[in-house]
Symmetry: C2
Subunit: 345 residues, 2 copies
DNA sequence: ATTAGCACTCATTTACCTCGAGTGCTAATG
DNA sequence: CATTAGCACTCGAGGTAAATGAGTGCTAAT
């Protein structure tokens, strides 16, 4: 990487980017000659800009237009921001997260707050329970041939499922089954429930192995369902605020990605797999793992609820995103989520 | 209503609408003179069209353009369709609804199928449990000061909530509470749980009235949450397929409505409150209870899961919607949902 | 009652022009 | 030698005018 950018070039580049973030218009030399502290004439600036263009930090959308930061330019800018470690953590106003005891409600809320706070589109993934453990499990009889399985995971994530059983189950046997499940499964992570354990359980269930098999199928099912991560989105239509994203085709693609969520899931996976600067990740244009976002910037943060339960918060907007604000906001939210976990743990 | 439309005028009107549905362009007299069976010259057609325009079934977007059906015109057309009772019920291909035992999964799926089948935007509301009864209720201890309440309603709708209690609860007392709740609440509709009943319960709970109060608060809370109906949407971005809806402003509004869901909820309420033609309701333009849809047509159907549990399926598209297909599809889906309920009880 | 014919309308498209912001280059300046 | 002033040049945006053509209403002929 070209470490060798003169101070003045850096200042000018910064100025170009800042100005472009605000206006969304290409910025010309004359504008800059006033905007910057260094009292330089437009001509001088022009020379510097020519250099910066040659270095590919900026480019002209067409001859005789001002300059626009390139992806590489944004990247430099963002990297500089990331180095300023002490983000001043401006308090998130109106965050209003109530302790509901139910994580998903909080997350839904978080996505909303984030969207209204930043004016970009946002996504929050429910925690992936990789390594999360079972805290409580219970079967209850609802009708003769119908029982409901309730599983509470760490972080108070609740899953339930109705099971149709082949033959009626006596109260006594139900009790036994519950005992069995609880003593065997509680405290285990999902990964720890392997075939061996399952076989052992079935064995111990004796003549009710049919039922236990059903139950375990259900547990597997629940995990399965959880495989495609739950993702909450908000503020999707914010993208209409940025002309460069709101032409018919782009808007269609992006909004579709937000509705289908499949692509967002890929973002989540990518974010979680690469641990980086304070848990904050910035994808500019092509850097994002999904082609749909090629004209966007995506800023993601990882949050942890302890027990290795991790999730992702993401903000999707135009490349001329207010990176500073966004990153601060994300940091704050990260902390808020942490607090909630402390209380709820 | 002008019953007195000559047969020929009707044929022409129908032709205009059909053609406009396909092309989205104003249709002129020359086009029609070929399109229709009646071998009439464009001039004759023009005369008839002039009449139809005077009767306000069609209009010109501007002088020297072809004609477009007015809302009134669409209305006549739709009414004719509704009279042809025996919708031929073309089987919904790929419906693939598996019995999951969990209503909301099915509904989510239904919205998707519907969207891909029709190429319009769709919404499905979870059943409003007006009159729905509690089928099963249980408290279980998760930790010392934490219990989980599980409530199963008719139609296997499951609600749960974590409760933090002030003081620990012995197993024995928990059992008592469960007995109490079950004997008192099961079979009751939500409306039936009034203040009198609550007072009685607290009384019977004796020195655990604090807990029962918490629990009932939670129940109330659950009902509360259910007050803003759950709504599943799909195919939102289908609206980009129709130029007349995909200009920046319209698209923004409509997609926003789909994201916020508040407005969709109003649609649901309106549909459920007015029972009409085979449970199918058509709103053309201004007829819809939400202003956002003023340039759309909305077709809704009511489904019933028995026990008075009703929900709404809706399709939102351009006015030049393929009403025939949409209505048939909705009818089919209605029946499918019925079948599922039969199996699931 | 139907139709052919014609004059008329008007949105849309195309071509063309002007305007101005912005550039690169060169020569002058401190 | 870095900086600046000056100037010719480029090119997109915006405006106007003309050409195009789909469609109409009206009238007169069939």
């Amino acid at each position: 990487m070209a470490v060798s950018l003169s101070d003045r070039k850096l200042v000018i580049l910064k100025a170009i980017i800042k100005n472009y973030l605000e206006t969304g218009e290409p910025v010309g030399s004359r504008t800059l000659s006033k905007y910057t502290e260094l009292n330089l004439s437009s001509a001088t600036i022009r020379n510097e800009m020519a250099d910066l263009e040659e270095l590919e930090f900026i480019f002209q959308p067409h001859t005789s237009a001002g300059r626009i930061p390139s992806d590489k330019g944004y990247r430099l800018y963002v990297d500089m921001l990331l180095q300023e470690k002490e983000a001043e953590l401006t308090a998130l106003k109106n965050i209003m997260i109530e302790k509901t005891g139910q994580v998903d409600q909080v997350l839904k809320q978080a996505a909303k707050v984030l969207a209204s706070n930043t004016n970009y589109a946002t996504m929050v993934s429910a925690p992936v329970n990789k390594g999360n453990t079972i805290k409580f499990i219970q079967l209850s009889q609802v009708e003769d041939l119908q029982i409901v399985a309730v599983i509470v995971m760490g972080g108070n994530i609740i899953k339930n499922k109705i099971l149709d059983i082949g033959e009626p189950l006596s109260n006594e046997n139900l009790l036994k089954l519950n005992m069995l499940l609880n003593t065997s499964l509680i405290g285990l992570s999902i990964e720890a429930i392997n075939l061996g354990l399952i076989a052992r359980l079935k064995d111990q269930a004796g003549n009710h192995s049919k039922v236990i098999s059903d139950v375990l199928d259900a547990v597997a099912d629940i995990i399965q369902v959880d495989d495609d991560v739950e993702i909450y989105t908000s503020g999707t239509t914010n993208i209409f605020k940025y002309p460069e994203l709101s032409d018919k085709e782009s808007a269609h693609e992006i909004i579709n990605a937000f509705e289908e969520k499949q692509q967002l899931a890929e973002l989540v996976v990518d974010t979680l797999s690469s641990e980086d600067n304070h848990g904050i990740q910035v994808y500019i244009g092509d850097e994002a793992p999904v082609k749909t976002m090629k004209d966007c910037s995506v800023v993601t943060a990882t949050y942890e609820l302890g027990d290795g339960m991790k999730g992702t918060i993401g903000i999707i907007g135009p490349k001329r995103m207010d990176y500073e604000h966004v990153m601060n906001t994300l940091k704050t939210l990260q902390q808020k989520l942490d607090e909630i976990y402390q209380k709820d743990g």
